[in-house]
């Protein structure tokens, strides 16, 4: 029987603020799971700490709500111990790019076949609106006593520099685009990052839903808002690397695109390169049979509890008498 949206929902009350962008993200993710017909027991949703961190509790799949900034290491441990799991990781912008930035960078180097979703709302939602690492210099959101004194991190550029092999941006309130982007990320062979612009109506009064959709700047001719977000696909931009010769050029193009912000905010796939070996491939190259017989699937004892690891070779190597 085909899986329906309801199969991915839990009956729990959702306590995000009304109008929060996270609702769009949750729905898009659940819709992506339906489209891909991934059974709930084969999916593990990891998250860090923050408003975004509650995401797994509203999804009927294995859910691991971890520590602030640490969702990636937990997810990596699980994915590598059982590569058959479909692993999706959620982080906040503070979570993933502030306290967990070291993991963000090092995860890129590994190119593990997982999906990493960053809820970028420009603020630390759950701690009441302090500046997050993506908030731009000089911006003063509602809860800030002074304008932001730090420049914002560019997560797209950072991901590119770190080695992510799928880098995309989407928008929480364009659920259709977001769903498709998440699906692409899940289907990508390698480490996929989706940065989601997520309005936080409670604390980010600058980058609001209206701001993203351009309510403040209507076309004088049509009277319609001119949205700030636009789709890369619609401009003919193609970030997909199809041969090694294209890597440099596509990286530069992606980096250039990643600099756009403010009046025009690109959404879609900036860069995708499936020519890079995944971490699982690399392990399988060293450990024959890793994929069929990963750590979680190995038999370690017989029925009586006797260990089955053969120690003879290793102990022989150390033997000095007898």
């Amino acid at each position: 029987m085909a899986l329906k949206l309801a199969d991915y929902r839990t009956p729990l009350f959702n306590d995000w603020c009304p109008g929060c962008g996270n609702f769009g993200i949750l729905t898009a993710l659940q819709m992506a799971l339906v489209d891909l017909q991934l059974p709930p027991s084969g999916v593990v949703i990891f998250s860090g700490i923050g408003c975004h961190g509650k995401t797994p509790h509203w999804i009927n799949a294995y859910g691991v709500h971890t520590l602030h900034g640490r969702a990636l290491p937990f997810a990596i441990g699980a994915k590598l111990a059982n590569p058959r799991l479909e692993v999706i990781v959620h982080s906040g912008d503070g979570d993933g790019l502030g306290i967990g930035a070291g993991h963000f960078v090092n995860t890129g180097r590994r190119n593990i076949d997982m999906t990493y979703i960053i809820h970028d709302n420009g603020v630390y939602g759950l701690t009441k609106g302090q500046a997050s690492p993506t908030l731009k210099l000089g911006v003063q959101t509602k809860a800030l006593p002074r304008p932001n004194i730090n420049e914002g991190i560019n997560p797209i550029a950072l991901a590119l520099a770190s080695g992510y092999t799928f880098i995309a941006r989407s928008y929480a309130f364009d659920v259709a685009h977001l769903k498709e982007t998440i699906k692409k990320a899940i289907q990508h062979r390698g480490m996929a990052l989706v940065v989601i612009q997520q309005p936080c109506p409670t604390y980010n009064n600058i980058n609001t839903k209206d701001w993203y959709s351009g309510e403040d700047r209507r076309d004088p001719a049509t009277g319609k808002p001119v949205p700030r977000v636009y789709k890369l696909e619609e401009t003919g931009f193609d970030g997909i690397v199809r041969s090694p010769e294209e890597i440099l050029q596509k990286s530069v193009a992606a980096l250039t695109k990643s600099q756009e912000w403010g009046d025009r905010i690109p959404m879609g796939v900036f860069y995708q390169n499936e020519l890079v070996s995944t971490y699982q491939d690399r392990i399988a190259h060293r450990i024959a049979g890793y994929l069929e017989n990963p750590p979680s699937k190995q038999v370690i004892s017989d029925a009586e509890g006797k260990p089955v690891t053969s120690m003879a070779k290793m102990l022989d190597e150390l033997k000095v008498t007898g």
Binding site: N60, A78, A81, M311, A312
Partner: protein, 646 residues
């Protein structure tokens, strides 16, 4: 052999081959049926600073170093000056004749504080040596034999024999020459050394033959020129199957036997060796014929930091794999938050924690036992944890395997404590017996157990243990969160659920306390009715046993309670043993007598005497013997601080 033990020490700058010569020395002794205990000491430095290897040899099994040196084999002037007072009367010093004219004031690697102490010793002795040669002449008067050899001249001889003109290509063999002199001085059977050289250099035949040649040349030189040592090291017959192994290797092997299949780590001394050894052995065979084809493997991950290391291990453990991480003090400091997460989520994460001198980076490469309380209290909030501490290399093996049983049976993190003294000591011991290891996975359910049923990961149960399933088990799901949660694993702040959930988790500690047999938690040595009891934990074990044996031969009655599980502490048994003693002595490698404090908290029994050491060096049997003797003779202060080591 004409005496109980013989102690050889090799000293030289780091990177000069002290390690490999010591390795060959130790193995050669082992092949001759002798028991060996070796301890490596080094600065936190890669090249140039002083390092030494202390190797004790005996027909009987050994568990510690001792405070004297019988034959000091030096590669530089620094090593002579540093260790000269340790050489026993009747002992010998092998040195490079080229360093004899060197002025004592011109050895740059000796620190100002060392110079000051050294000057004090000279003043006390009333002597004024100017050069290394003068200094050696002083100890010669006390009966120490000096074997000065020109390593350069030997190298020239070697270059002739090998037909290799460039001396610079041969200097790396200086350590083998020193080894040849050493064995020549004590007349040890050459054939065992050749076997050891072959073993160390593996398949590189040309290198083996060059080194054997170098060894023989120096050996023959020594037997021809240095005949007066008066002691010869003789092989003995043994039928026992033995291995020669380092502490970190024992932990690694215990993990493999115990079914560990995932290890994450971030490099740190002295824990790092364990992970490297695991990675070297990442692929292995399996015993049962049905599994032969499949083969086994462990995934070893070098992470970006220890925060990632501990949390990756927890992530892996959630999938049902036995998973561990390994670290020392600074790394464990970073793991603390993750430890709490594993605690509240009831994840069987195993942490191997190698203690060294702290706080901060403290003494990065030196011994200490300062983190018992830290391991006990690390992380905020309250959750059960099980702590093991091994007393020697053999215990490391069995404890490392058992740690996973405790972790899975009680679904809680386990911290396995060892220390630098064990980690970097190598010793000969009985072949490990994998048959003594039993794997117990606790309440780990499979798809068949749960299919079609309602599943609650944190179900309230009588014992506090909720049956768990690995992530990915078909037919069910669960949630984890570091927040307090309900039976399903969803966040709750409900006071009643909170009260029950904390209680459920904490109950597991009582259960562990009730179920884990005493013989896995303590060792007791000596006469039960002895009036004097020593309590200790970790690496002092070997030195204590030896000191006790000497005292027993002198008719002193003394027993020893070694604590192997400080948490949950087997308090009733400890109270019973200590209750009988009229003198209770605590021995630990820290300032504040942490174990004694824990015992007092848990049993209300206070210790009478403390023998403590925190200078970064392991305890020796001699200094413990002296300390115990003072106590037995009622001449000791309540607190004695040990200081041996250079």
């Amino acid at each position: 052999m004409s005496r109980d033990d013989f102690i050889w020490m090799a000293g030289g700058p780091q990177g000069s081959g002290v390690d490999s010569s010591a390795n060959i020395f130790a193995r050669a002794c082992c092949y001759g049926g002798l028991h060996v205990y070796g301890q490596r000491e080094y600065h936190s430095n890669i090249k140039g600073m002083h390092s030494y290897f202390h190797i004790r040899v005996s027909p009987n099994e050994l568990g510690a170093i001792s405070s004297r040196v019988d034959l000091l084999c030096t590669f530089d002037a620094d090593s002579i000056v540093r260790h000269i007072w340790e050489v026993s009367s009747g002992g010998g010093i092998i040195c490079d004749s080229e360093v004899l004219p060197k002025k004592l004031t011109e050895i740059p690697t000796l620190s100002a504080s060392f110079r000051e102490e050294f000057q004090k010793t000279l003043d006390e002795k009333g002597i004024k040596p100017q050069t290394v040669g003068d200094l050696l002449n002083e100890v010669k008067k006390d009966g120490v034999r000096i074997y000065a050899v020109s390593y350069l001249e030997l190298l020239k001889l070697l270059s002739k024999e090998l037909g290799e003109e460039k001396l610079s290509k041969l200097t790396i063999m200086t350590n083998i020459l020193a080894l040849g002199i050493s064995f020549g001085v004590v007349n040890y059977d050459k054939k065992y050394v050749a076997t050891a050289i072959e073993k160390i250099f593996g398949k590189k035949e040309k290198i083996i033959s060059m080194n054997v040649l170098a060894f023989n040349l120096a050996y023959d030189y020594a037997t021809a020129n240095f005949k007066d040592f008066g002691f010869s090291l003789n092989a003995v017959q043994t039928d026992e199957k033995r291995i020669f192994i380092q502490g970190t290797q024992a932990v690694a092997l215990g993990k493999l036997a115990g079914g560990c299949r995932f290890q994450s780590y971030y490099p740190i001394t002295p824990a790092g060796d364990e992970s490297l050894y695991l990675e070297e052995n990442e692929v292995f065979e399996l015993e049962r014929t049905a599994l032969k084809q499949q083969g086994g493997s462990i995934l070893v991950m070098q992470t970006e930091d220890e925060i990632a290391a501990v949390n990756m291990a927890s992530g892996a453990a959630l999938t049902g794999a036995r998973a561990a991480t390994s670290t020392s003090g600074p790394g464990f400091s970073l793991m603390v938050e993750g430890l709490g997460w594993a605690g509240i989520n009831e994840v069987p994460t195993v942490i191997s924690f190698y203690l060294r001198g702290g706080p901060s980076t403290g003494l990065p490469t030196r011994h200490g036992q300062e983190d018992l309380r830290f391991a006990l209290h690390a992380s905020h909030g309250e959750f059960p944890r099980i702590i093991l501490c091994s007393g020697d290399v053999e215990e490391c093996f069995y404890d490392a395997a058992r740690a996973f049983n405790y972790a899975e049976r009680y679904q809680t993190p386990v911290i396995h404590l060892t220390d630098k003294a064990i980690a970097s000591s190598s010793k000969s011991c009985r072949m490990f017996d994998t048959n003594l290891i039993k794997i117990e996975r606790g309440q780990l359910l499979t798809e068949a157990d749960v299919s079609g049923k309602e599943y609650k990961r944190f179900r309230f149960t009588e014992s506090g243990i909720s049956p768990r399933v690995p992530l990915g088990t078909p037919g069910v799901v669960f949630w984890n969160t570091g927040d307090e949660h309900n039976e399903l694993g969803h966040i709750t702040e409900n006071p009643a659920v909170r009260t029950r959930m904390v209680e459920k988790r904490m109950k597991k500690l009582n259960l562990a306390d009730k179920e884990i047999p005493l013989q896995e938690r303590v060792n007791f040595f000596g006469d039960e009715d002895a009036p004097v009891t020593i309590v200790s934990w970790g690496s002092p074990k070997g030195a204590i046993l030896e000191a006790m044996e000497r005292l027993r031969r002198e008719n002193y009655k003394i027993n020893f309670l070694q604590i192997r599980m400080p948490h949950p502490l087997p308090r009733e048994y400890i109270a019973k043993v200590l209750g009988k003693a009229t003198k209770k002595i605590d021995v630990e490698g820290n300032y504040s007598a942490q174990m004694a404090g824990i015992i007092q908290e848990e049993t209300c029994i206070s210790i009478d005497y403390f023998v403590l050491k925190w200078n970064g060096r392991p305890m020796t049997s001699d200094e413990l013997y002296d300390a115990f003797l003072l106590i037995l003779q009622d001449k000791a202060p309540a607190r004695q601080v040990l200081t041996y080591g250079s």
